[in-house]
Symmetry: C2
């Protein structure tokens, strides 16, 4: 399988938006993103965890420059959709590990979480796929996060000499 990590990137222009306690019914996610699609707001890394007692939380990132507009568009849906609140945090950075064959069982996700945990970096949002692991952290930790991940995956060494994944 051979997972290969090719790079670490930090996007300090991201803001995190969370919508809490969305009623768990078919179509609710589409209604939520309609106005953002209409206004061509650049939405990235949408994550939703499993519903609980009939409600879901959903988080995603937008450019900091669109955060206010996105918040207003979503607030406008609150009574119609019945969710609890829209929370915006623009003091964050999106840190991504990019590679190939990174299905999480290869330990890439674990090595990433371990390195960030040991450096005291708290994870506000997590999203993994085969080619990318993205986490949102406090923007003050962006430098530290990139550096400890760079070390954890030995990116200063040539690919052939790195510890196996």
């Amino acid at each position: 399988e051979g997972a290969v990590v090719t790079g670490i990137a930090a996007d300090r222009q991201a803001a995190r938006i969370s919508v809490t306690r969305i009623p768990d019914r078919a179509g609710a996610a589409a209604e939520l993103f309609e106005p953002l699609g209409r206004e061509a707001i650049n939405v990235d890394v949408i994550v939703q965890t499993a519903p609980q007692d009939g409600h879901c939380d959903l988080s995603f990132t937008v450019p900091k420059a669109s955060a206010k507009q996105a918040q207003q568009l979503l607030e406008g849906l609150r009574s119609e959709l019945g969710f609890a609140e829209v929370r915006v945090d623009d003091c964050v950075a999106k840190v991504s590990i990019v590679g190939a064959g990174m299905r999480s069982q290869s330990g890439v996700a674990l090595r990433c979480f371990r390195a960030l945990g040991q450096a005291g970096v708290n994870l506000q949002l997590i999203s993994t796929s085969e080619i990318k692991i993205s986490v949102v952290v406090d923007e003050r930790f962006a430098e530290v996060a990139v550096r400890v991940l760079h070390d954890a995956f030995e990116l200063d060494k040539p690919q052939g000499e790195r510890k196996g994944l």
Copy 2:
């Protein structure tokens, strides 16, 4: 930018695991995945939404065959980590849209949510990236989900003749 959807796939061998109310402190995610990494459990699509009142929910998928073992490994951490519960649902299917350039603002995510919502398919978990949008649905809706997505993205037409994204 030209987002291109190349295929729709359903994985009926997936189970969804959720760990609720994990204390929101650096390192907690690593401690959670340590035993799964040690036992080489195949973990895919890890999602965590933003912390609330000092706790986070985290969901991910594992092969149905590993669900029981994963649950037991995680239950063993409950008192040490202090999370609320481990929930397993093995009556689910993971449905993925695979493509390129699918940054969500291109409307791919919205078109996906709209098609599934109109077909009455409820989304239990959502994870998006540039090359893949994955949702977890009740396994009874796996066929319907694949069919309505296939239609929504006109995959029976040649790429050049499909509605723009």
